[in-house]
């Protein structure tokens, strides 16, 4: 019970960091960052075998954020874990920063794959997972891919490979937030039922509520135990998750904090998150 409370608290902190860094910058990829906040809380709060003091630890689990534009969510999780001081979050996108809009393995401690050109991270994750197996490591690779990103054919090349090679250590997580940049995925390129689709590609697939840390935790625990089959989580999320105003905003892919109504909603969300965090920590 305590564990779940702590994961929820971590999620609130990550959400607050994301919001504050984007507000400070004045713009940013809000929608797709918010939808994976709970996922990052569960990964970093419980499952990942990593050491923030030794980011290059040999047998660590790896994370590949193929939907690289959601970097702000990852950076916030990394800061909460102590990979770098939280003040650094405010340097997002500054010239010379270690936190570029899209993740860069040569710049940020804790980031192992350079992504941002959609589709490419899927194959990189497949390669890392293959390497882990070659070396006989008992380590996992968590691949986070967007539902819009699945438009890229490369994702399906990677999935066929992961399935063929039975890379059970590569945990594929699809952020099914139902929207891409220009609107709803069903209106642009409909991916239909992702669970059925992934199952037909040979994956053991579970579908979970991506705002429910307990459900995410159970799914990961269940899939980590799978042997001899590729595994996938379809994360049922909302683009802009956790802040009603942004969930309801149609174009929330990249938000500009340039009008009163947006700024007011953001301020209110900050206050609410701060109050929640204070209450839980008391």
């Amino acid at each position: 019970m305590n564990e779940i409370k702590n994961l929820k608290l971590l999620a609130a902190k990550i959400r607050l960091d994301v919001l504050e860094m984007l507000m400070h910058r004045g713009y940013g990829h809000l929608g797709g960052s918010m939808s994976i906040v709970e996922l990052f809380a569960v990964l970093y709060g419980k499952h990942l075998n990593v050491d923030p003091k030794n980011p290059n630890k040999e047998d660590r689990d790896m994370v590949v954020l193929s939907k690289g534009h959601a970097g702000p969510a990852w950076y916030s999780a990394l800061a909460e874990m102590g990979y770098f001081p939280k003040e650094v979050l405010l340097t997002l996108n500054d010239g010379g920063t270690i936190l570029p809009s899209h993740p860069d393995r040569n710049l940020t401690p804790g980031v192992d794959a350079t992504t941002g050109s959609l589709g490419q991270g899927t194959s990189i994750a497949a390669g890392i997972a293959t390497g882990q197996k070659f070396k006989g490591k008992n380590a996992y690779t968590y691949l986070i891919v967007g539902d819009g990103e699945l438009n890229e054919g490369q994702c399906w090349e990677a999935f066929m490979y992961i399935s063929q090679k039975k890379l059970n250590n590569c945990i594929v997580i699809i952020d099914d937030n139902k929207r891409q940049l220009d609107g709803y995925t069903k209106d642009i390129i409909n991916h239909y039922d992702l669970k059925t689709k992934m199952e037909s590609f040979g994956f053991k697939t579970v579908r979970v509520d991506g705002s429910d840390v307990k459900a995410i935790d159970s799914a990961i625990t269940e899939l980590k135990a799978v042997k001899d089959q590729a595994v996938c989580i379809v994360l049922d999320t909302i683009k802009g998750q956790g802040i009603k105003y942004f969930e309801d905003m149609f174009s929330n892919h990249s938000v500009k904090f340039n009008n009163e109504s947006i700024n007011q909603a953001a301020d209110e969300a900050v206050e609410k998150l701060k109050a929640y965090i204070a209450k839980e920590e008391a």
Partner: protein, 318 residues
């Protein structure tokens, strides 16, 4: 035939809107024109085309290679597609599809590559293209247009829509400074001497034409006479104009928002070398480096692409 604006510090309309507005107007009269975007209709401005011509607008989703193939197929059916993605995805990412399904198969595809070079701003290194021109230059018969401002962009879109083959038009999506008065005319394959001068020949293209003109003005006050040549299409290159304008100059400098490997600088170097032109020569551009994150202004300074940087290069040559 061209006329320069009086106020070179004024910016024109947002180029993304100009591009799509022009295509949309052409679509009113030409039912063969089609526009395809790849989940970037709101950033590219093409949502206005979607609104005006929903029957001939396609959003293929985040699938650039598929977009080029679909465009090729539409061309085989007699349509004339425009396609859009960010410059690196409209060049690097789809190079083989453009090369084979496009150029080799002799289909017609008009490519709108947005935010090349430092114009990428905060989208950062993964979204940066310093090599898009180099790639397209290797494709037989491809046309590469690097418009300097609103007026030139309108000409580029109109001519692209009226001709067959592969055309690559690279533009900043945002507003850039005006150079030419509306009504000025430009054609593929022809450069323009924007400013006369006797000591140094600067050859440039795209939005940094404005910066080159600033540099020329500054050098003028220091007693150096600089001629500025706007190479509107990097391919086909206006070889005759280069050879005639280089006559009598002490130095030639190319100035490009692109890698010095394979772009305008390389193209001019090839012309000078093969025509035995013996003149001081320098390629000023991005020096074999990757992109990075930052504002466009930061990046322009970081990659030495300001007028001050050009002044320094020219002074160091003389």
């Amino acid at each position: 035939m061209f006329k320069l604006v009086e106020n070179r510090n004024e910016k024109g309309e947002q180029l993304s809107i100009v591009f799509c507005q022009t295509v949309s107007e052409l679509m009113n009269d030409d039912e063969k024109l089609v526009f395809i975007d790849s989940d970037l209709a709101s950033p590219s401005g093409s949502s206005l085309i979607e609104k005006a011509h929903p029957d001939r607008f396609i959003n293929v989703g985040i699938a650039e290679a598929n977009m080029v193939g679909v465009a090729s197929g539409l061309s085989i059916e007699g349509f004339k597609p425009f396609i859009h993605s960010f410059a690196p995805f409209a060049s690097r990412r789809v190079f083989d599809q453009i090369y084979l399904s496009g150029a080799y198969a002799k289909t017609t595809i008009n490519v709108y590559g947005s935010d090349p070079g430092f114009a990428v701003g905060p989208n950062g290194g993964t979204h940066t293209s310093f090599e898009d021109v180099a790639l397209y230059r290797t494709i037989p018969n491809a046309i590469i247009v690097d418009p300097a401002d609103v007026t030139q962009l309108k000409c580029a879109v109109r001519q692209a829509a009226s001709e067959e083959g592969i055309k690559y038009i690279r533009i900043n999506r945002k507003a850039v400074r005006n150079v030419y008065e509306p009504g000025s005319k430009f054609v593929f394959g022809k450069g323009t001497v924007v400013k006369e001068g006797s000591d140094v020949l600067v050859i440039t293209s795209g939005q940094i034409l404005s910066d080159a003109l600033d540099a020329a003005e500054e050098l003028e006050t220091k007693g150096v006479s600089v001629e500025v040549l706007d190479m509107y299409t990097i391919k086909p290159l206006d070889v005759d104009l280069i050879l005639s304008e280089v006559e009598g100059k002490k130095a030639v400098v190319t100035f490009e928002n692109h890698s010095i490997i394979g772009g305008l600088g390389s193209a001019v170097a090839e012309v000078l070398a093969e025509n035995n032109v013996n003149v001081l020569f320098k390629r000023h551009g991005v020096t074999d480096r990757f992109g990075q994150v930052g504002t466009a202004d930061f990046l322009q300074v970081e990659y030495n692409l300001t007028s001050k940087d050009l002044v320094k290069t020219i002074e160091s040559l003389l």
